[in-house]
Symmetry: C2
Subunit: 192 residues, 2 copies
């Protein structure tokens, strides 16, 4: 290395992640990216490869961050029921508080790219599968502490909760009346 990079690669990647998260792959142009990242086009290609490689790198960073966030939230409360309740409540609250969030980058990618690119089908599937494991471990914790009934299937329930999470996240993009989502969350939590 004879000349040092002038920009922070991780900060630039975060900026790219934000743009892809909000707009998706197709609707994001290289101009959108270079503006958000505050770098020139050749610097982008040198540091991250082409548009799709940059997207993949951004998505992988997102899934890691997302999994860590969820893991922390689920472990934040001793009561498993309270942990799930808090998790879903925050999700809904964040969406209805302001002008709306870009939802989940991974879910957006599942819809836009997974059907036509196996690479993204795999990345998104593995992430959702991992979330199911996180949910399952949390439910098993509740069973061990006696908070939850012993006869429930932690795995099946966890997978069902992931499906509900996906459904809620996507439904909120249409901004239905809040009671719609609150009711769905309440019914989902009644499974615990």
């Amino acid at each position: 290395m004879v000349r040092v990079r002038e920009f922070d690669k991780e900060k630039a990647l975060d900026a790219a992640m934000q743009v892809f998260w909000e707009k998706g792959f197709e609707a994001t142009s290289l101009t959108d990216l270079t503006m958000a990242m505050s770098i020139q086009r050749p610097s982008l290609y040198l540091a991250f490869g082409d548009k799709q490689q940059l997207f993949e790198t951004a998505l992988r960073k997102y899934t890691q961050w997302h999994a860590a966030t969820i893991r922390t939230k689920l472990q934040s409360k001793p009561s498993v029921r309270e942990a799930f309740r808090g998790f879903f409540s925050d999700l809904v609250e964040e969406e209805y508080a302001g002008a709306g969030t870009p939802g989940c980058f991974c879910i957006n990618t599942m819809v836009e790219l997974a059907p036509r690119d196996e690479k993204f089908e795999i990345i998104t599937r593995e992430h959702q599968t991992y979330l199911a494991v996180l949910f399952q471990e949390t439910i098993e914790r509740g069973i061990h502490t006696g908070e939850l009934q012993q006869d429930i299937s932690a795995k099946k329930l966890a997978q069902s909760l992931v499906v509900s999470l996906v459904g809620i996240t996507v439904m909120m993009k249409a901004r239905p009346e809040r009671t719609f989502i609150d009711n769905a969350v309440a019914v989902t939590l009644s499974l615990l």
Copy 2:
């Protein structure tokens, strides 16, 4: 009308619907459309307006067809539990039978366009809201016949089922192991 249109407008619209359904709005080019519709570009603009207007028309046709399909399926069996079981089973079976379906056009649009265009936010919201009504009426039928318990909230349960439907449809795009989806469906149906 002095010269008659040479193509079948409804057939052309169906072809456009199929393309938008599979590829989404951004990834569909006018060339994709005119080839699928077997018409020339000026004919498209004359008959359907620009790309976005055509997309909207196609989406509205889809939601009407989709609602009618679901209504029929739910009314096809005297048992409400059997009706829902059949509905979700068919949904999963169709996806895992072959190479995969394009999912739900309305859900795809919720993810791609609803966050950045209020028009599509409204269209998709109204469709999902209508599906919840269809589900609710079906559940109420089950309560009246005595098949389902009287103390359940048909509305809340229906809204939760719609969320599960959305979640399952989106999750399947990542093609997880079939047991994942089957388990989620089983847990969802256990609410009835």
